[in-house]
Amino acid sequence: MIHKPLATTAASALALAMTIGTTTAHADEPIRIGVLATLEGVFAASGQDGMRGFDMAVDRFDGEVAGREIQVYRASSDASPDSALSAARRLVENDEVDILIGPLSGSEGIAVKNYAHEQPQVTFLNGSSAAQETTLDNPAENFFRFSTEGVQWQAGLGTYVYEEKGYERVAILAEDYSFPYAQIMGFMTEFCDLGGTVAEKMFVPLETRDYSSVIARMPQDIDAIYTVMGGSDILNFLEQYQQMGGEAPLIGGSIAVDQTILSAEGPDRDYLIGTPTSGPLADDWDDPEFVAWQERYQEMFPDGLGSPGLFAHAYYVNTLAALTALEEVGGELGDGHEALRDALQNLELDTPTGVVQVDHNRQAIADIFITEVSSDGEGGLYNRVVGVVEGVNQTLGFPEEEFLANGFAARDNPPVEECQ
C-alpha cells in the first residue's frame, strides 16, 4: 500500500530523466546559457558581483539574442575545483546549456578548462578566473577567455613604481597560492628588468589572519611593500602593520585596494593614499562608455558595490563577447558551434574598458589600468587613473617561446635571487 506512491514517483522521475536526455535544439527554441560563480563561503561577495556583471550583459541584450530568448541556468561553487566541476557538469549534462560562462577563481578555471576538453559540443567562456595555465597550458579549443589574467593585470605597475614613485627596493608579502604567484611574475618582470631589487619574498599560508609576526620580520631597508592580498586580509594586515608602527608605503596587487577597502571605516585608511595598483578596470576611468556602464550598474543594483568590481567586469565582458558573437551569427549553433567560435575568434569586442580581442590560445589582449589611491578632498578615497597600458597580451609582449622558457609563475619563479 505505502509502496505505491513511492513507485509512481520513481517512475515519473525516470520518465523525466529520459525526456531530458532526448531533447534537441531548434532554431526557435531559447538559447541556454549557464553561469557558474561562487555564491558560498568566503568568496560569496565576489560571486554575487560576478553574477551582477552577467545580468548586466543579458540585460543589455534585453534577454534575447538573434530573436531567440536567453534562458539562464545558474550554478554555484564554493571556490574549490571539485565543486566547480560538479556545478559545471550539472549545467552541461543536466541543463544542457549551449554556452557556459564561469568560473570565478583560478584553480576552478583550470578544472573547467580540462572539462571543456571532454565536452566539445559546448562553448565555454571564462568568468573571472585568472590563472595563467588556463589558456597557456594545454588550452581547450572551446574555452575562450575575454578577460585578462593575473600576470597581465600587473603590466605597467613595475615600471610605474620604479620610474614615477622612485621605489628601487621592495619586499613582497603575499598569500601562498597561484594567483599571487602570477601577480608577482607580472610585477617582477618589469620591475627587475629596470634595475629594481626585491629584498625578500614573504609568503603567508592561506587563512592566516594574524600577520604580526610576519610584520616583525619585515626587512627594514626597503622603499615599499608590494602586497598581493585581498578582502579581509589586507584590512587585517593594514591595521596590524600600522599598530606595529610600520611606515613603508604600499604597492597593491589587483585585488588589494578595491572600493570595499577604500570605503571601510577607520581613521588610518588615509595611510593608503599614494598606493599604486593595476588591474583590468579603474573606478575613476572617465571614458564615456565606462561612465555609462558604471551608472547602469548603480541603477540596476542599488545594493551593489557602488562601482562594478573586478568580478562584475570579467563576467560582463565574457558574457558580452558570447552574446555579441551569437548575434553576429544569427544564433546559429549548428556544426558544433563552428560559426560561433569563428566569430568569437575574430571578434573585436567593444567593452567599457576598450577593445578586446583574443589571441591564438583564445586569451584576451586588452588594456590594463594603473591607478593610485587618492583623496577626493571630502574625506573619501578613490583609485585615480595614472596610466593605461594598451593591448597587453598574455606573454607581456615577449615572444611566446621566450616567455614559456621561463616557466609558469610559482612560489620561487621568478626567483628572487635574480633580482637582488
Binding site: 554555484s76 574549490s80 583550470i110
Partner: protein
C-alpha cells in the same frame, strides 16, 4: 558475495538456504534497479548522481563501520580517501608531467596500501580517546593533512594539486565510459556493502560491537579491545581508500579543496542522514546529499540553498538520531502497531 559467505565459520549447509530465505522481494527489486539504472538514464544521471552516490556512500560506509559497530566517530575518513586519491596521482602520474608514472597495476595497489596504512596509524593514535575526543583527534588529523597538502609542493603539489587523473583501461574495458564507470563503482560499493553486512554477524564484527557496548567486560574476557579497534580503523580505511580512488577518477583531479573541512563534515552528514545502524544508511544519506547538492539551488531558486540543506539536516538529527533509517523504522512500527518489534531488535 557467495565467496564471502563461504568463509563464515558457520556450517556450510544451510548458508545458501539462509541466503535465499533472507532475500526479500525488495532486495531483488533494488538490485535489478541498480543494474538497469544507467541504461535508462543519461550520462549526467549515471555519473554525477549515480556513481557519485555510490562513491560518497562507500566512504560514508567506512564511517558507518567505525561509528555503528565500533562506536568511534571518525572525521578523517575523507582524509584517508583523499590520501588514496593523492597517492594515485603521485604514483601513477598526472598531467603536466607530475608524479612518478608507475604502471596502474603497481600504482593503484600501492596507493590503497599507503592510505590503509595511514588509517591504521590514525587508529593507533585515536583508539586511546573516547567520544568527543575521538571526533576531535580525527578532525585534527584531517585539518593537519589539509594544511600540509596546501603548503607542500614537493609531494602534493600544494594549492594546485593534480589534474588529468583518469581510470586506467582494465582488461580492455574503458572505465572512462559513463556506464562502465558506474558499474565499476557499483561493484566496489556492493563489495563494501556485503563486507560490512557480513561483519555484523562475523566473530570480528560481533566482538567489535561488544567492545562498543561494554569494553570492561570484553577486556575481562581476554579480548584485546585496542587491537580490535585498530583493526576496525584499518578495515574502514581500506574501504575509504577504495572510495577515494573512485572519487579522484570521477573528478579527474584532486587539490587541497577536496580534503578541506567542508567535505570532511559532508561525509559525517551523509552517514548520519542515512543512519549508522545498517550499511544501507550511508548510501541513502549519500543519495539525499547528492540530490540536494545538485538541485537545491534550482529548487529553491535563490541563494539560500545552504540554509535549506542545513535545516533538513537539523530536522533529521533533531527528530531521529538514527537518520532516515530511524524515521523509516518509526514509521513502520507505528503502521504495524507491533510493540514487540522494538523488543526484538533490542535482544538481537
Amino acid at each position: 558475495m557467495a565467496s564471502v559467505l563461504d568463509e563464515t565459520p558457520r556450517t556450510n549447509d544451510g548458508t545458501l538456504a539462509r541466503l535465499v530465505r533472507s532475500l526479500r522481494w525488495y532486495y531483488v527489486a533494488m538490485i535489478a534497479f541498480l543494474l538497469i539504472y544507467p541504461l535508462i538514464t543519461g550520462g549526467f544521471w549515471t555519473v554525477q548522481i549515480g556513481a557519485q552516490t555510490l562513491i560518497l556512500g562507500t566512504i560514508a560506509l567506512s564511517l558507518m563501520l567505525l561509528a555503528g559497530y565500533g562506536g568511534m566517530v571518525s572525521l578523517s575518513q575523507l582524509t584517508i580517501a583523499g590520501l588514496a586519491g593523492y597517492m594515485i596521482a603521485v604514483f601513477g602520474g598526472a598531467s603536466g608531467g607530475l608524479g612518478l608514472g608507475w604502471p596502474p597495476f603497481v600504482a593503484i595497489p600501492m596507493a590503497i596500501a599507503v592510505a590503509t596504512l595511514f588509517a591504521t596509524l590514525v587508529g593507533v593514535i585515536s583508539v586511546r580517546t573516547e567520544g568527543i575526543y575521538t571526533i576531535m583527534i580525527t578532525l585534527a588529523v584531517g585539518m593537519a593533512f589539509y594544511f600540509f597538502v596546501l603548503q607542500n609542493r614537493e609531494i602534493f603539489n600544494a594549492f594546485d594539486g593534480f589534474a588529468g587523473l583518469r581510470p586506467p583501461l582494465v582488461l580492455g574495458i574503458n572505465m572512462r565510459e559513463a556506464n562502465n564507470f558506474y558499474f565499476f563503482c557499483l561493484a566496489i560499493a556492493g563489495f563494501g556493502y556485503c563486507l560490512v553486512l557480513y561483519l555484523s554477524r562475523a566473530p570480528f564484527g560481533l566482538a567489535l560491537q561488544a567492545v562498543r557496548d561494554n569494553p570492561r567486560r570484553m577486556r575481562a574476557l581476554g579480548f584485546n579491545i585496542q587491537a580490535h579497534r585498530v583493526a576496525a580503523h584499518a578495515l574502514a580505511g581500506f574501504l575509504a581508500a577504495l572510495g577515494g580512488m573512485l572519487l579522484v577518477w570521477m573528478n579527474g583531479q584532486i587539490s587541497p579543496g577536496s580534503v578541506g573541512i567542508a567535505p570532511l563534515i559532508s561525509i559525517l552528514i551523509i552517514a548520519i542522514l542515512g543512519g549508522i545502524r545498517h550499511p544501507v544508511g550511508p548510501f541513502i544519506g549519500a543519495l539525499i546529499f547528492v540530490l540536494l547538492d545538485n538541485f537545491a539551488m534550482q529548487l529553491i531558486g535563490g541563494d539560500r540553498f545552504n540554509t535549506v540543506i542545513g535545516l533538513i539536516f537539523l530536522v533529521i538529527v533533531l527528530f531521529s538520531p538514527d537518520g532516515v533509517l530511524g524515521l523509516w523504522k518509526m514509521f513502520r512500527n507505528r503502521l504495524r502497531r507491533q510493540p514487540q518489534d522494538s523488543v526484538e531488535s533490542r535482544t538481537e
